[in-house]
């Protein structure tokens, strides 16, 4: 076993509603959808119309700026609706699924294929969108050759899916996926959790790195920083581990099979468990087997695609995308709290020792969505850096972004982070600022100006 990279900074927030090990396979549902909004920076150009028949793997739309990047249907069926919002903004393309699924055939022999053939297969199949470029956290440019490709083999976020369960029985596809990635770039890094048995130990042809420490140790950005950081002018690619399997299936099954596993978790889930289904399933379908607890007395809940730190708020009518591997359901906040800032708040969590969470390290919390205070300018110092295990001064970076100072942002590390990396900074911030949105603003400014 190679050297363990120990991360001292970070935080594991223990929440109630952890998934038990059971996995439920979803049958083919009624309706699936792909939303262009799930893809950062993509301006969609529609390729289908309502009533069209599609096979699984047929393109639905492409990116105007990169016409070669297709976005494809996860199922075969009929386009039942093209949902649009204000100014005709494309929100989602819905497909009513056939009972008997048909798949668009792909025939690329991975063993003999050239890099170009692999790229072409990924672009056509819509799986290219699963390859994310760092800096910026946007879909990779197929004309680039990255310095390396990074895959995190574990998720350290609150209530995250255990990849050993998510990937069980799928290791052939995972290996094929890594083989495909190696065609794209010779150097593929795989981050694993030190001291934990992982199915991914068996993966061949990749450089394995072991990480010890609290969240965000599982964030690929943090792993990149400690393995081979992104410098100005450099690009690396990242792929979520479950998407490596989906890419692998393109070559082992010769079709687009976007099956993945979500951990359905959180205090408001009756039976937190794993659910296996297709990307594009409705949130309601994914939650169905686990069920949401009955709410009493006007209480409401929030469904989050992803984890509670950096996921996206969704409704039951929305559809799960290809980047998430969990769905969290937690109670909404907003309750009246008399002089709460003075109260002991034993059921709330804080990293501050002005509360008592530090005396109860084992306690699992049922956190609500309340902001727990008013928005203020930066006052407290030295706090944010404790939760970002990188050699970066987060507050200086945040201030550079606020000032729109490109050069400073560049110098202070904007190329190395995306939203999820500062999620803990945002969580602990006593000034209650939206730091993840701020980082995205900064990144968008960089994309515009560079």
């Amino acid at each position: 076993m190679s050297k363990v990279i120990k991360l001292k900074k970070g935080l594991d927030i223990k929440l109630v509603g952890e998934a038990d090990k059971s996995v439920v396979e979803l049958p083919i549902g009624e309706r699936y959808a792909v939303s262009p909004l799930a893809f950062e920076g993509v301006v969609p150009k529609l390729l289908v119309a309502e009533g069209d028949k599609v096979m699984a793997g047929d393109a639905l739309f492409y990116d105007k700026a990169h016409p070669e990047v297709m976005f494809t249907s996860p199922v075969s069926g009929t386009i039942s609706a093209v949902r649009r919002g204000e100014k005709r903004k494309l929100l989602a393309i819905e497909v009513a699924a056939d009972v008997e699924q048909t798949y668009k055939p792909f025939n690329t022999n991975l063993a003999t294929a050239s890099r170009e053939e692999v790229v072409a297969a990924l672009l056509e199949s819509g799986l290219w969108a699963m390859i994310i470029q760092r800096p910026y956290g946007i879909i990779a440019d197929s004309n680039d050759t990255p310095k390396a490709i990074f895959v995190s083999g574990f998720d350290s976020a609150p209530l995250a899916a255990d990849m050993n369960i998510a990937l069980e029985g799928d290791m052939k596809a995972v290996q094929a996926g890594f083989d495909a990635l190696r065609k794209l770039c010779g150097k593929v890094h795989l981050g694993l959790r030190a001291g934990q048995k992982s199915l991914l130990e068996g993966v061949e042809g990749v450089e394995k790195h072991y990480f010890a420490g609290a969240h965000p140790a599982g964030n690929v950005g943090v792993q990149i920083h400690h393995i081979d950081p992104v410098n100005k002018g450099e690009k690396v690619w990242t792929v979520a581990i479950q998407n490596v399997a989906i890419i692998g299936r393109l070559f082992t099954e010769n079709r687009v099979n976007m099956t993945k596993t979500w951990a359905v978790v959180g205090s408001q889930v009756a039976h937190p468990m794993y659910v296996r289904g297709l990307v594009g399933s409705s949130v309601a379908d994914v939650i169905m087997p686990a069920r949401i607890k009955p709410q009493s007395g006007g209480a409401t809940f929030r469904i989050i695609e992803g984890n509670v730190l950096s996921g996206v708020k969704v409704s039951a009518n929305d559809y799960v995308g290809c980047y998430s591997s969990q769905v969290s359901v937690i109670p909404e906040g907003g309750e009246l709290e008399l002089i709460g800032w003075l109260a002991p708040r034993l059921n709330k969590f804080s990293v501050s020792r002005t509360y008592f969470s530090w005396l109860m390290p084992k306690k699992k919390y049922d956190l609500r969505t309340g902001l727990n205070g008013g928005v203020r300018p930066f006052v407290v110092t030295g706090l944010y850096e404790k939760y970002l295990p990188m050699d970066i001064y987060p507050m200086y970076l945040f201030k550079a972004i606020m000032a729109g100072d490109i050069e400073k942002m560049e110098n202070l590390g904007i190329y190395e982070i995306i939203e999820e990396d500062v999620a803990l900074c945002e969580f602990v911030d006593p000034s209650k600022q939206e730091l993840q949105a701020l980082v995205r603003d900064g990144i968008n400014l960089m994309i515009k100006e560079m």
């Binding site: 501050s352 509360y355 008013g374 407290v380 110092t381 911030d429 939206e434």
Partner: protein
């Protein structure tokens, strides 16, 4: 049967007056004040919209309130000591001395809060922001560090200066360069030197005598026992005399993580080192030595017990906004504050209290120190980039 109203009283009152203070209401110009009251009683019911859906339950109110809690021993002791330092103070009971001091101090606390919070509310109203909690701390620090007998109008003026010039013109809490409470003292110190100068200003009543620092500045020695200086039964401004009570506050601040141990400890280290260096430089034989030479020979540890050193180290230097913001910067700035304070004390006898000047000076330099610390990070990043290009 009459249905019982389950809404708690403060909420009912707030709801009742909400229209009066809202836009279009009679008192809409006091909206920021209403909002401050509202958030004082009830945590804002806002929920997260995006990003981190759950949040830590710590907020600025809690953070600032911890500083007030840490100040309580110092405040209570200071009030008692006002009474005790009267010329016949020793003849009274603890309670009598305390009440005497309480009534002496209360007006200046009220004046600082009324003046300071009014200005804060006005600026919050103009900027359409919420009132920041920062002044809750500044407002109690000011009466603790200005001379006891300061006329109330002077206290009010100094507070207004500190809030407007020290804070609001820079953009409010979080943006200021200088510690607002210290600016208030600085304002009095430099603007009304003649009316409050001399060592007698630290006394409330007829008692004359010198503060230990005043004595040291004039004669190079003091008769105050170090035990008295530690416990605090010596003349001085209200907050600064009792090193013991300040240490109790320091424990609260450090245990709760509210103040930076890096800053606090390094101020003390800086003071000890500079005191020690001066000890080494002082002539061995003090007969016929000048005042300054005698002052140089004062054992380094005694410096930490005298004057505003401990109070400044624990409550002033650690202000997160005006101190250094990087961990490394905190060590440097803290050390410099401690060292400079002793240097000013010993060599510039015109300013017996070096702590105030040292902190204000290092407030101004802290961004420079931080700049170089951050620049080192930038250089590391650039070197790393070069290395990969060359590789």
């Amino acid at each position: 049967m009459k249905q019982k109203n389950t809404t708690p009283l403060p909420k009912r009152l707030l709801d009742k007056f909400a229209p009066t203070f809202s836009e279009g209401g009679k008192l809409s110009w006091l909206h920021s004040f209403y909002e401050a009251m509202e958030t004082f009683f009830y945590v804002p019911t806002d929920v997260t919209k995006k990003g981190s859906h759950v949040r830590d339950c710590n907020d600025m109110k809690r953070t600032m309130f911890m500083v007030i809690i840490a100040l309580i021993p110092t405040i209570l002791f200071g009030m008692w000591n006002i009474g005790f330092q009267r010329i016949d103070g020793a003849d009274f009971t603890i309670w009598q001395n305390f009440w005497y001091g309480f009534w002496q101090m209360l007006p200046s606390i009220l004046v600082t809060y009324v003046v300071g919070l009014s200005i804060e509310c006005a600026f919050a109203q103009i900027r359409k922001e919420e009132v920041n909690e920062g002044f809750f701390v500044s407002g109690i620090l000011i009466p603790l560090i200005i001379p006891i007998g300061t006329p109330l109008w002077m206290t009010g003026l100094a507070t207004a200066f500190a809030v407007v010039v020290g804070k609001e013109i820079f953009g409010g809490t979080g943006m200021n360069i200088f510690n607002p409470a210290l600016l208030a003292r600085l304002f009095i110190f430099f603007s009304y030197t003649s009316s409050i100068s001399g060592e007698a200003v630290w006394f409330s009543d007829a008692r004359t005598g010198a503060t230990p620092l005043g004595e040291l500045a004039n004669t190079g020695t003091t008769n105050v026992s170090m035990l008295d200086a530690f416990i605090g039964t010596i003349p001085g401004s209200i907050g600064e005399t009792s090193t013991l009570c300040i240490l109790l506050g320091a424990i609260v601040l450090l245990a709760t993580g509210t103040a930076s141990w890096r800053t606090m400890i390094s101020v003390f280290v800086g003071g000890l080192v500079m005191g020690g260096v001066l000890n080494l430089l002082a002539p061995a034989d003090l007969t016929g030595a000048t005042e300054v030479q005698k002052y140089m020979a004062l054992p380094a540890w005694q410096h930490l017990l005298l004057g505003g050193f401990a109070f400044g180290a624990v409550f002033m230097a650690t202000d997160p906004v005006t101190s250094a913001q990087t961990n490394c910067g905190k060590l440097i700035v803290g050390f410099m504050i401690g060292a400079l304070a002793i240097l000013v004390r010993v060599f510039n006898t015109g300013y017996p209290e070096g702590m105030m000047l040292a902190i204000i000076f290092m407030n101004a330099l802290a961004p420079v120190v931080d700049h170089y610390v951050v620049q080192a990070n930038v250089s590391r990043r650039n070197r790393r980039a070069k290395k990969t290009i060359n590789a």
